[in-house]
């Protein structure tokens, strides 16, 4: 009976796999996608159409994504919050190579992350990618020296302020143009393919970049620094 059931399952799964193959073929874009392709550039003046879709046409979804990220990071911070249960043990400090490399690479990586999210409307990438690069810069710093703490108060303040500013930007669109997160009439659209163009899109992507960067950085800080892996001899001073 078990074998028959297994063979049946394998056959059904194989049939599903074969029938899924034609779905991967490129098709004509639907009417909504056709509108984005034809009118996206003139409506938003963003050189990167993907960004226009993510931040303007699907701006509410992006707000939801940022909220989901915030909730998951808050949950992780609740589980991983620093427990001082006396189990601290000595751990080796990082090697000279790691420390020097991290010191050398920290500032360029941070600037590169900021570059990615500031230029989100012009080149590939944007708030999420730039925020992840910023968080990896902070990660290098945390791995090089275990005594470094992120200032939690500053991080959480910045995170809440940035989220608040995102909603305020959306409300500005609601008041001025009549729909939440609208890009029409709030800021001048500017000329295509320049840094100060595309209206609210770069503003929102900078906010998203800062939010994702601080959230991922504080998640990594919570994971790495939970008291356990901490050198107990020299780092006990707050």
């Amino acid at each position: 009976m078990k074998q028959v059931f297994s063979i049946l399952m394998v056959l059904i799964m194989g049939w599903l796999l074969v029938s899924l193959v034609p779905l991967g073929q490129p098709t004509e874009p639907g009417s909504v996608a056709q509108h984005y392709i034809e009118h996206g550039v003139e409506e938003n003046r963003g050189a990167n159409l993907v960004t226009s879709v993510i931040v303007n046409y699907r701006g509410l979804d992006t707000l939801g994504e940022v909220t989901v990220l915030f909730l998951s990071v808050a949950g992780a911070a609740f589980v991983l919050r620093r427990r001082d249960n006396g189990l601290r043990r000595r751990c080796r400090p990082s090697s000279e190579i790691v420390q020097t490399g991290a010191r050398l690479l920290f500032a360029p990586t941070l600037v590169f992350g900021a570059y990615i999210f500031v230029h989100g409307h012009l080149s590939p990438g944007g708030g999420f990618q730039g925020g992840a690069v910023v968080a990896s810069a902070v990660l290098m710093l945390l791995l090089a020296d275990r005594r470094i703490h992120l200032p939690h108060r500053v991080m959480s303040w910045m995170e809440s302020m940035v989220g608040f500013a995102y909603v305020m930007t959306g409300l500005a669109g609601l008041v001025i143009a009549g729909s939440f997160l609208s890009n029409q009439g709030v800021l001048p659209l500017g000329t295509w393919n320049t840094l100060f163009s595309a209206g609210l899109i770069p503003v929102i992507y900078i906010l998203v970049g800062l939010k994702v960067g601080t959230e991922l950085a504080s998640l990594l800080d919570n994971m790495i620094d939970t008291g356990r892996l901490y050198p107990s001899s020299e780092g006990d001073q707050p």
């Binding site: 590939p124 990438g125 990896s136 990594l220 994971m223």
Partner: protein
């Protein structure tokens, strides 16, 4: 160029199989990161640079580190 694509796809499958088969958890986590790197190359070749950047930064970078930290901490709990 098509040969490079085929090579990357084959390496992707090999890395995924190694990640499943290897006994050492640290090697498995690193192989998962390698899979993400190959996937991001494939996204780039399919004209999706935005997705490729996300996959490289989050899949290959941050997720691997989070896996490694989690493995290290659970090993300490087990001892």
């Amino acid at each position: 160029m098509i040969y490079l694509d085929i090579l990357m796809c084959v390496l992707l499958v090999v890395a995924a199989l190694v990640a499943m088969g290897v006994r050492n958890l640290v090697s498995a986590a690193i192989m998962v990161g390698v899979v993400s790197l190959h996937v991001s190359y494939i996204f780039l070749r399919m004209n999706a640079p935005d997705v490729a950047m996300t996959e490289a930064a989050i899949g290959a970078g941050l997720t691997t580190v989070i896996f490694l930290v989690a493995i290290r901490r659970t090993e300490e709990e087990e001892r």
